[in-house]
């Protein structure tokens, strides 16, 4: 079952006309920023094609594709049959024919029927054809929790894709990045799994809409230090960047200085940027919504420990979901990494 998660006000904002301020920046929600990024890609390249369930007339259950079918036609913004393996499998075929399909998976929990096509086919095609074919397919997945949803609507399966060679896995944390990164993802000749933090869809930020349709993977694989600090490095991506920044604010009030890194890309991992930071701070906490057990945090911890062994004052600590299924909505805030849990981990790292 699916919820169309539009908060009335948020939806209105997302649909509001974008108008740039004097500084050339426009204030947008992340949903609207992605919408405009998709629009730019559709306008720039006739081979770009959106496909998914309910993305046409409805504009997607989150309204991320709102208005695009009206503007570009239902031939370019295609409502598909209800079958995720079919969506990804036919997107592969379309890419072989020269198209650049952008698939929407309605919710994180519904990507699994397409898992075979993604891991055994999409990820390996460039390799097995020895570079003769590229598959520029983007798979957009609204992911993560915090929206009070029913089962299967709040999952964070990113590590499953990061473990699979041949896929790029990215997640924007701000409207500005969302606008640029979706265009870079579409321009990339590699398949990209594009995780959209659905719990942040309606948060606003400033976006430079003047940036043109991207050239292949400009900065799609670079992490960014989003806040400078000295006492510990907090590594996050997607929905938890916001949490990390709030934790840094709270820590600052207590006289502790946290550096916050937005990974942006999970595969590849920009370990250089993280290691450079950890060598300065000596402590590292990784925060993601996915279960900690066998999650992306393990890779980051292992890699950073290798790179910064003599700089680390404490083990890299991880804050994330528990080793349980995603819980019922009423308990999700106990499950999701909170500002408090991040700060507790920082405390433990500092006091180790």
């Amino acid at each position: 079952m699916t919820m169309t998660q539009t908060r009335p006000s948020g939806a209105a904002q997302a649909n509001g006309a974008a108008r740039a301020g004097d500084d050339g920046l426009t204030t947008l929600t992340m949903a609207k920023a992605i919408n405009l990024g998709l629009r730019a890609a559709l306008a720039a390249d006739p081979l770009v094609l959106l496909m998914g369930e309910d993305i046409g007339a409805l504009g997607g259950v989150f309204r991320v594709t709102d208005g695009l079918a009206a503007e570009f036609g239902t031939d370019r913004v295609v409502d598909t049959p209800l079958a995720e393996s079919g969506i990804v499998g036919t997107a592969i075929g379309l890419a072989m024919r020269g198209y650049r399909p952008v698939c929407e998976i309605q919710f994180d929990g519904f990507v699994f029927p397409a898992f075979d096509q993604i891991t055994t086919q999409l990820a390996k095609m460039h390799y097995r054809t020895r570079g003769k074919l590229s598959l520029p397919v983007v798979i957009r997945i609204p992911f993560g929790g915090g929206i009070g949803a029913v089962e299967h609507h709040s999952e964070s399966p990113e590590v499953l894709f990061a473990h699979t060679a041949g896929l790029r896995v990215v997640s924007p944390a701000s409207p500005a990045d969302a606008f640029t990164m979706i265009q870079e993802a579409i321009a990339s000749p590699d398949p990209v799994i594009f995780f959209e933090p659905k719990g942040r869809y309606w948060e606003k930020g400033q976006v430079d809409l003047g940036r043109p349709y991207a050239t292949p993977s400009g900065g799609l694989d670079r992490a960014r230090v989003v806040r400078r600090g000295t006492d510990a490095t907090v590594v996050a991506y997607g929905p938890t960047v916001h949490t990390a920044l709030k934790a840094a604010d709270a820590a600052a009030a207590e006289g502790r200085s946290l550096e916050v890194i937005d990974l942006r890309s999970i595969s590849p991992l920009d370990t250089d940027t993280v290691a450079e930071s950890v060598r300065r701070t000596g402590r590292c906490v990784v925060v993601h919504e996915a279960p900690v057990a066998f999650g992306t945090g393990g890779e980051i911890a292992a890699r950073i420990t290798e790179a910064c062994f003599y700089h680390l004052q404490a083990p890299v600590l991880r804050v994330g979901g528990f080793a349980t299924p995603y819980p019922i909505a009423r308990l999700e805030h106990e499950y999701l990494p909170s500002v408090d849990r991040v700060l507790d981990a920082v405390d433990r790292a500092v006091g180790f």
Binding site: L58, P113, T324, L331
Partner: protein, 367 residues
Amino acid sequence: MVETPPPVQLLAPDGVRVAHPTYDDAVARLTPDHLRAMYGDMVLARRFDTEATALQRQGELALFAPALGQEAAQIGSAHALAPQDMVFPSYREHGVLHTRGIDPLDVLSLFRGIDYGAWDPRASGVHLYTLVIGSHTLHATGYAMGVARDGAVGTGDPARDTAVIAYFGDGATSQGDTNESLVFAAVNDAPIVFFCQNNGWAISEPTSKQSRVPLADRGLGFGIPTVRVDGNDVLACWAVTREALNRARSGGGPTFVEAVTYRMGAHTTSDDPTRYRTSEEEESWRRRDPIDRLRAYLEATGELPEAYLASVEAEAEALGARLRQGVRAMAAPDPASMFDHVYATSHAGVARERQEYLASTATGSDR
């Protein structure tokens, strides 16, 4: 190409009884009491929908998926079930659950976000709702294979012979799993009825986005006998399902039923159907309302006395009151219960995290 016969109809939209050679005998055996029971169940199912929708609007439920308009398909098919039969619903079969005696508050626990639907699948003979489209059709098929293995088909003992019914929508017919379930059911002669409620829409997509031909044809492609039935005709749904269940119970294998109906409401309370369909279409289906139809028939045959109508109305009122009160009174779940039942036996990973969690909440954060 396949010549799809028209949907089986036993009551015209105006409630006039239509003769049908295959099903007339069965219908003749339906007593007025039984017909009234179906009527009452449809009314109660609709009241459940109305109340739950209202509770969602009031913020008491996070979400609700109404079954408005699908009462005949659900109540008719469910009335054909034997106690030992097993139901695998999708997520909109509130009418079926009502008929099976499941506490409607259990259903709402799911939509309130405090449980996964709390009923006992074994005790109730109804599996929990499945939200991943199509997945449960395979569970139903496997269960039916188990029924056959147990020798619980074809014994001739009506208290023993068992069938399984799987409910799913028009959209679900596109999923690989649904088609694989037809493969497994066919080669195993599994005692199962695939009951497809074609309600015209999969969220915003009309059925034409899933198939160019009637969905009833699908079963035939797998060698499974198929019936197309008017899904707003409770008599036809009952008769057709009964026949299919009987076939299953007697060892005759699977049947595919397409019940042609309409989702009169939104997909869920979060949905906005005005974005993708016309009010004319909605209006035209409102004129084929399944409850009105049976009511007209019963009124015409003089089988709907005032006293009965009043008692149904009272029952509906009581249901409404119970829902409004019950939902508000639902206890908040214990956070530590999040760690329960991940495994049936102890698991070191869960145990450690539970312990850490309890320790952190016990000491309390200093923030």
